[in-house]
Assembly symmetry: C2
Homo-oligomer: 216 residues x 2
DNA sequence: CATAGTTTGTTATGCAATTCACAACGTTAC
DNA sequence: GTAACGTTGTGAATTGCATAACAAACTATG
């Protein structure tokens, strides 16, 4: 259970990707996979794959590669808790609804999106894809009762900070922020920003000058 | 027009963020802004801000900071073309519709989302927020005619690669990929991946172990 | 059993990006 | 005018990350 050493967010992101590749039919014939195979599918180098796996207490055998099942399990157990962490989403608008739909149908992650929140009365009280939308006043209670540790923010930019404050107050320690603002949070809280406009402007820039190959 | 030197995607992303901050009421009273103010709002260090700006042929004056208007213009002109690049979106599903709505209403970028594509007949032919949804057969023609250089992929994962191929064939040189696969593209094409599941799993991981502070 | 051929685990190397530190400069106060 | 303060611009130091490289290990084969 104890983490071997501090790993970077980028490393965790790659492990998450390897995990998905392993669970979606890689090496399904042999039951085994080489580092360079995973590398090609993940868009990274083979050395990178081996190095990432090294940090997990590895399991590969030379000349045969990795056991798909075993490696998948190790990665999943490293990234996730046995029960799967519980997630809440705030702001059931266009983007919020898309994410809600995705995580109840399309996604295979161990994470569970178990509650949604909104201010609009036509949203609250309803149940979308098995996930109830609560009014904001119930946030603190629901997050504690449901043991929620992660929040997704899909509210308008001008209320994103207060939404983050409310989530943190209620006990959330990780936030995926889809609003285009940099949140101010205490050091113990981890934030990732998912800013579509910035990503798109970056793509547009390199669509012209075309040099580097990168990712996020 | 000529770029001073090769800059990293992360640098461009930060410049994009500074640009937005400058255009949304930073230092609106004085008309000027300090590097440490931008830094706090962007969630980076003051030295980082100054260094990023340095690469643009800078304009700040000691003790007074930067002229908001001037710096904003310089950043915009560096990141964008004068006319604004044109963008197409493929896959008008839950996520695709949310993005379409956002870029016709909520966003202030110079980029223009001017065309959408889908296979489903109930999507094609309709006009959403001033953006027509075409059938896939018209892609090549429309992209050339409309001078589109950037594509957004919001189709299911199993058709993302063929969608990318089609976009590239039609002349697109930058792709924002929202499907959870690593696309194989020629070196001249620039790809950014926007993988919500990976981002969320990364947040969940550090919501427990809580160490680093990072971003993407 | 020995030999050839691959792939892993890991260490060393190189590179890029961020931070540090400070001189130069402008501004303000008196 | 001049002294004191605060910020910029930028070379140097540092950190972190990815690539390269290679010894050890395993399989296969005759
Ligand atoms: N839709 C996109 O593709 C897209 C792209 C980039 C960024 N974003 C950002 O994501 C966020 C949401 O975008 P959207 O298109 O879904 O907007 P939206 O207007 O469709 O949805 C916003 C939702 O938040 C709710 N809300 C408003 N104030 C609230 C509050 N104080 N507490 C709780 N809920 C509140 C509203 O009732 C609404 O349901 C915005 O910050 C937007 O900038 C969206
Ligand atoms: N919705 C989310 O929040 C979310 C989160 C993470 C990842 N994603 C990814 O984004 C993509 C889209 O997700 P979604 O929820 O919008 O799915 P969706 O099923 O709602 O939309 C998919 C759209 O693509 C169209 N399509 C199907 N095949 C096509 C083809 N060959 N060419 C052109 N169009 C085609 C469909 O008609 C549909 O309109 C998926 O790859 C999904 O994994 C979505």
């Amino acid at each position: 259970m104890s983490r071997r050493q501090a790993v970077s967010p980028k490393c965790i992101s790659r492990l998450s990707l390897y995990g998905r590749l392993l669970s979606t039919g890689v090496g399904s014939t042999s039951g085994r996979v080489y580092s360079h195979e995973l590398a090609r599918l993940a868009g990274v180098s083979a050395a990178q794959v081996r190095r990432d796996i090294m940090g997990l207490g590895c399991s590969g055998t030379p000349n045969t590669g990795y056991d798909v099942q075993a490696l998948g399990s190790i990665i999943t157990e490293y990234i996730h808790t046995p029960e799967g962490q519980r997630v809440a989403l705030v702001g059931v608008g266009n983007l919020g609804k898309a994410i809600l739909t995705y995580f109840s149908h399309g996604s295979k992650t161990r994470l569970r999106l178990v509650a949604a929140f909104d201010t609009a009365r036509d949203k609250t009280g309803r149940v979308l894809h098995g996930c109830r939308c609560h009014p904001m006043e119930e946030m603190s209670d629901v997050i504690r009762r449901e043991n929620i540790t992660v929040g997704i923010i899909t509210v308008p930019a001008d209320v994103a900070q207060q939404t983050a404050d409310a989530l943190i107050n209620a006990g959330v320690t990780g936030i995926l922020n889809c609003a285009p603002v940099a949140l101010q949070v205490p050091a113990r809280v981890y934030v990732e920003n998912l800013d579509i406009t910035i990503k798109l402007e970056t793509v547009a820039f390199f669509a012209r000058s075309g040099r580097p190959q990168a990712d996020g």
